[in-house]
């Protein structure tokens, strides 16, 4: 085990931004997960603070309401010693893509070191990342990706089962609109897990099987022999006749309850990215079942993973720490110093 901050310096993560899981290698994901483990330990200590990012500025730029993710990033930044600013922008008052770029340029002029961005439009975070000189972390863009969620889910699973490869993971619910599902499908696939998705066809995106998943309409079939059951949140406005006829019917066929869970492996674990709709996508007692539910663990891992991501993305700013050489072969510095090369 390396100390916090040290592992990042070996360039195990060779990208300027973290915009998505797609395109990452298994080694890069493992590196981030390994690094996160250290921060789990740090966060459990009495004194949770390091000075690793002292003097660096992080802006949490949220164009969409989020308490949980924003708080998790804020804590992560503060525990690493950075200055953290939260900016919430009501996207409804800003209509044009140009304004997004204007916002980016304005913020860029303030010289932040990391921008953590959530936006309701798929691709908006990438667009913004092309206009700034600092590192950008995608904290969720539309229905596209939510990479830190997938990483924290991966870490949670790995800590529970010791591995990701070969596991059977069922992702259940509103796959169509879910960036969590897309990032997890990518990550679990890259790491060698077998991914299943289960939902009514109205909540499945077209050609989803092309992402390398098995598609099910029936929960019990999908959960058969599963190691992990990952539930997704169903938005209220989709429950009453548009995508799903009613909450009653949804819970009956797609809500996770003890009966459906019997189809999974006896020690299968339950996950949910939160916030939960109890009694709609998940039975309340199951969500609180300390033996089966990893939901609270996921929240804890969220902070650790975000610390690891901040660490990894600021390695250049902090300079290479030679002490890290022991961890593994050094990657050519040009990979990491590509910052600013992209327009």
């Amino acid at each position: 085990m390396t100390a916090p901050g040290l592992a990042a310096a070996n360039l195990g993560y060779a990208h300027r931004h973290l915009l998505g899981i797609e395109g990452l290698s298994a080694d890069e994901i493992s590196f981030l997960l390994d690094l996160s483990e250290n921060y789990v330990e740090l966060s459990r200590r009495g004194n949770k603070k390091t000075a690793l990012l002292r003097g660096l500025t992080i802006i949490n730029l949220f164009f969409e309401n989020s308490t949980r993710t924003r708080t998790s990033f804020e804590l992560a930044g503060k525990r690493l010693g950075a200055d953290v600013i939260n900016m919430s922008v009501a996207w409804s008052s800003i209509k044009k893509g140009e304004t997004l770029i204007d916002t980016a340029m304005t913020l860029n002029a303030m010289h932040p070191d990391v921008l953590v961005v959530r936006h309701p439009d798929s691709g908006a975070v990438k667009l913004l990342s092309e206009k700034v000189t600092c590192a950008v972390i995608n904290a969720g863009d539309g229905s596209h990706e939510h990479p830190t969620q997938a990483l924290l889910d991966g870490l949670t699973i790995r800590r529970r089962t010791g591995r990701l490869e070969g596991l059977i993971v069922a992702i259940c619910g509103d796959i169509l609109h879910s960036r969590v599902a897309r990032s997890n499908i990518q990550l679990l696939g890259i790491m060698g897990a077998r991914v299943r998705v289960v939902a009514p066809p109205t909540l499945l995106p077209a050609a989803v099987e092309r992402l390398g998943v098995e598609v099910f309409f029936d929960m019990k079939e999908a959960l058969k022999d599963c190691d992990i059951v990952m539930m997704l949140r169903l938005q209220t406005e989709r429950m009453h006749g548009t995508f799903v006829p009613s909450t009653r019917e949804y819970f009956r066929f797609y809500g996770l309850d003890a009966d459906k869970l019997k189809a999974a492996k006896p020690d299968a674990s339950i996950m949910h990215p939160g916030p939960m709709n109890r009694g709609i996508e998940i039975d309340s007692e199951l969500a609180d079942d300390i033996d089966r539910s990893l939901i609270r663990e996921q929240v804890e891992m969220g902070v650790a993973v975000r610390m690891a991501c901040l660490d990894a993305l600021t390695q250049d700013l902090r300079g290479h720490n030679l002490a890290a050489a022991e961890v593994g072969p050094e990657v050519g510095p040009e990979v990491g110093s590509g910052a600013g090369a992209r327009s």
Binding site: F217, P245, R252
Partner: protein
Amino acid sequence: MNDSAGTPGRTAVRRTAFVNARLLDPASGLDAPGALVVEDGRIADLGPGLLAEGVSEGMARIDCGGHCLAPGLIDMRVQLREPGEEHKETIASAGVAAAEGGVTSVAALPNTEPVVDDVSGVEFVARRAREAKLVKVYTYAAATRRLEGKEITEIGLLAEFGAVGFTDGLHAVADALVMRRVLDYARAFDQLIVQHPEEPSLAAGVMNEGEVATRLGLAGIPAAAEAIMVERDLRLVELTGARYHAAHISTAAAVEAIRGAKARGLAVTCDTAPHYFTLNEHAVGDYRSFAKVSPPLRAEADRAAIAAAVAEGTIDAVASDHSPHDQESKRLPFAHAAPGIAGLETLLALTLALYHKGELGLLDVLGRMTVRPAGILGLEAGRLAKGAPADLVLFDLERPWRIDPDAFRSKSKNSPFENHPVQGKVLRTVVDGRTVFEAGA
């Protein structure tokens, strides 16, 4: 006919033999003289050589007099009017009419008041049918809430409670996105979606568009209104992979579209009603509102195409589209009269005309009203086979008669077929071994 077992309303004895019958089973192709034994409501045995030695003690005997014994008809499209319009029809009165017509199973549309769009509606129909104890009554549930074409219904729960399919009845699901989601969602439960295929924005008229409508000064509905909706739906079926059934097809263009879809391997079926291959738009004649029906009676070329499509099998099923209306609903200026024909009691005779005219073999004619609709709806009835439910119709294939709507057992008498000559008369109707109708009884 000598029996003490099967008089209407009485429970059958354990074993009943139907002897001296012409056994007709479209599913197996059986057409031979023989006998059939019913035990505990199911067909215990049947065949040409059966009971050649005579009927044993303790077995009731029904002499079929050499007449046709076939699976009871399955009418996949009827309106029962209960709940809500019991002055036009009830589940009980429709049951009597169905039995009279040789129909042993009906599938009811959900366009009642209230609409059958939740499980309590499905349970109500089932309970009333149990109480009536006549023919088997299945029900479709609405595809969208209140038939409004906006929000999908609880298809999964409704199917668990026994709905045999989902349809908005006399309305098309017009919005393509809603229809796509209905088809998509139904796929999760392998449920059938039945469409009234008519583009509503083109269907504001009251009869078929053409010369007759022009001369009468009535607003027309073009044949294209049907073809457009069928063709759109077929695209959506291709997109979603759902099971789709187009109801009461009336135009050559729609037949052609469905023929093409079947050739491409889509899970598509369709039906028509006897009036679409028996009558054309001229039946409207002098503003006869009994000939007002939705979709409207079409041009002669369409009528002939429908008959041909039934014969070739592109049209899978013939259903009565039983639409009972009281006098008040029909004795109105043509444009204001309610559309629909009471058809339960004339389904068999009108459809047998296809056989009598030589357009189609007898087994094929019967198949369109038995095993084919059973297959579409997933019912176990519709065939003469060991173990199958003893739902039977005994009919005199040749007997000529004239349709007399006043003699209908249905509460409503709205039929354009008054005095229409037909051949083929139901003698006895049996449901689960119980005789529910017997001619002259």
